[in-house]
Amino acid sequence: MGRGGYLKIFLFLLPAILFTAIFFITPAIMTTIMGFTNMDYRFQWNFVGLYNYFKMLIDPLVTKIILTTFVYTFGTLLIFNVTFGLILAILTTSIREKNGIFFRTIWLLPRFTPPVVYGVIWLWILSPMKEGLLNSFLGYDYMPWISNFPWQVIIITNGFIGASMGMVIFASAIKSISKDYLWAAKVDGASWLQEIGYIILPMIRWPVAFITAYQTLSLLTSYEYILLITEGGPYFKSTVWSLYSYKVAFSSYAGTYEFGYGAALATILVIVGIIFSIFCWRIFKFKEMVEEPKIEVI
């Protein structure tokens, strides 16, 4: 390819490069630099070396938060974002097209709902008092759902939203499978479950791999619904790493803001994200996915 060709490629990519540099790379670099300061509510860049990272090592909350982050990320991912999303996709593509669209739209509603409204609705559902929707439905005078089941609450509330993305991607992947395969299977006497096991699942493995990787990264950094519904409680039981980073940096009152330590915590998340992305790239063989097809049908 000549110089002109490379220039064209560069110009085509320029908007995306600028966007990524301004909104992703620059904040990540600034966060990393800030993580080496003890910046507080006075916003002064006092560099303290690795102090925040040593502080992390002796922070009594860190172990608890790592465990919660692990449970939340993989619990939500495996139960909802992948498995439930897949079930919804298979079910809604197995029925009449119109009905399938209707049910998929219903499952997309939580994603369309503003997060605060969604959070308030869940707070009403899970209210510990008898006026709470779940308690009035079950006839309980008192049941502190959030206190008793904090992990389940954050997994379910996030999962109901997360499942819809998997559902949409998987459903479109299933619909793009050539009908010839499914008809051939039917002619050979395959049952519905056999169609799923032998045709659908193998043919949508790329979307499944992509959703697994993408949603893991997304869950690692998401905390808004946890903040709105459980606020990380009770006693840090539902505090995930990203929420802890936010709380340390921004929550509460003037004298308690620790932007430096919060940035260091966020930097760890960036590092984990990068390592996980490389891991997924290799394990799921994404390189094969983005390769040019070996045979092109014109």
């Binding site: 510990p128 006026e131 005078d141 009770p234």
Partner: protein, 460 residues
């Protein structure tokens, strides 16, 4: 030629007259200066924190007009009704920009911000300004000046104060068989140290046993951090700051007793273990519907709050069914306690019109305007002369509740005081939900305080 000279002369005369006229007109042109203010309730009735500043600006304009001054002020004030934390975060993010366009001239906030804001150079000391208007400021209650001092200087003008109290339902006591005289006598017993925190728990237990209130509806408290929790440390004989060094104190023995008391309330099923998850509005609704026996950590402003939408209690109903006393002593013969959280006016460092902003604050501190705020929002007077001001003196509620002020103490003006009460509440909520034992919660809290404050905390 002559006519040309005449024309030039005429033109020059016209230009001269127009210049003089326009100069004179320019002299008359009135310049409007905008003064920005950020204020907060978050309770709705405290809107007078904003409207009093607006009213003060109107008064200032009248005076400026009367003396023929060519400036006027325009008050651009906001009023926050969400959360303290949201208000403080948005203020801080604007303050760090150091851009006068983005920063208010006046900030109305809690006195605990003095330490952090003064250290960050966001606000200015006001001693010299106060000296200019000593006739206004000389009759402010001396105790209020103590809570706006930091490193020997005054950084804020008290806007109001209140007292934090325990509310009780008189109708529930009547249902328990208490006579009117016994009910009326209860606050006096608290003040004499005859009725303690344990007696309060016992009273709650009796209410449940008599089925006057449902289980876990006997004693409720605020679901959030706040200076209120200091009251219990004081009640158990603890201290939170060292007056000599200014350092914060972690009193392990007193704090453990507080945590054990909270555990006791939950174990006896007087308080829900999920108390920290109940929304403020639900708490007030349940209380005003008469479904709770005792509200442990209330404040004088609740009285006005409950009269407004959506609670809509009449003052008559309040006098009939609701009573109050300071937080009872922990031991017989001890003193009850209360904590006040004065709201203050700050003048920001970036304000281009500090004198005008301070003048507006001074006018907003006038007896009539401040009394309007006190009566409308259930807050207390800041000036001694207000006590004799007819509308205040005639108001039975503020007159009576002001008596609690003799037990009042203030939160320290330490930059990390908010960290103290935030993390203290984490421990309280942790014990309450049963996630952690009082001993472990205390140990964990002490570790966090030490790691955050280093030599700025005395652990004893």
């Amino acid at each position: 030629m002559k006519s040309l000279k005449s024309l030039i002369s005429f033109v020059l005369v016209v230009i001269f007259v127009m210049s003089v006229a326009s100069f004179a007109l320019a002299q008359e042109e009135v310049k409007t200066i905008t003064i920005k203010a950020w204020t907060i309730g978050p309770d709705d009735p405290s809107i007078t924190r904003k409207t009093n500043l607006e009213e003060a600006a109107d008064r200032l304009n009248k005076y400026l007009e009367a003396i023929g001054a060519n400036i006027r002020v325009k008050m651009d004030a906001t009023f926050c009704t969400t959360k303290w934390a949201d208000f403080k975060l948005s203020n801080l993010l604007a303050l760090q920009s150091q851009d006068p366009e983005k920063i208010a001239d006046i900030i109305v906030t809690g006195h605990e911000d003095i330490g952090p804001y003064a250290m960050a150079d966001y606000i200015i000391p006001l001693d010299d300004y106060i000296a200019k208007y000593s006739e206004v400021y000389e009759d402010f209650f001396p105790a209020l000046w103590n809570c706006v001092k930091f490193k020997g200087e005054i950084w804020g003008i008290p806007q109001d104060t209140e007292c934090r109290i325990t509310w009780f339902r008189k109708d529930k006591l009547r249902a328990l068989g208490w006579s009117e005289e016994e009910i009326a006598n209860l606050p006096k017993r608290v003040e004499r140290g005859e009725f303690t925190l344990d007696d309060l728990a016992q009273l709650g237990k009796e209410m449940i046993e008599a089925k006057i209130v449902e289980k876990r509806h006997a004693i409720w408290h605020r679901p959030t951090p706040g200076t209120d929790w200091f009251q219990f440390i004081f009640s158990y004989g603890g201290e939170i700051s060292d007056p000599d060094t200014g350092k914060l104190i972690v009193d392990k023995e007193a704090t453990l007793k507080v945590l054990n008391y909270i555990k006791k309330l939950v174990d006896l099923e007087l308080t829900p273990d999920a108390m920290s998850q109940i929304a403020w509005r639900d708490i007030h609704t349940t209380w005003t519907k008469g479904e709770i026996g005792i509200f442990l950590t209330g404040g004088s402003w609740n009285w006005a709050e409950w009269q407004r939408d959506p609670y809509n209690l009449s003052e008559k109903e309040e006098w009939e069914n609701i009573g109050w006393f300071p937080i009872p002593a922990a031991v017989k013969g001890g003193k009850p306690v209360s904590v006040s959280h004065p709201i203050v006016h700050f003048i920001t460092k970036t304000s281009p019109h500090k004198d005008l902003a301070f003048l507006i604050v001074t006018l907003a501190s006038s007896i009539d305007l401040n009394t309007k705020h006190a009566l409308g929002s259930g807050h207390l007077a800041i000036r001694e002369s207000q006590l004799a001001f007819a509308p205040y003196a005639k108001n039975e509620y503020v007159k009576t509740i002001t008596g609690v002020l003799r037990y009042t103490r203030f939160a320290p003006n330490h930059a990390k005081a908010p960290f103290y009460w935030e993390t203290l509440f984490e421990a309280i909520a942790g014990v309450e939900t049963g996630e952690v034992s009082p001993e472990n919660a205390l140990k964990f809290w002490v570790d966090r305080m030490k790691s955050e404050l280093g030599d700025q905390v005395i652990v004893k």
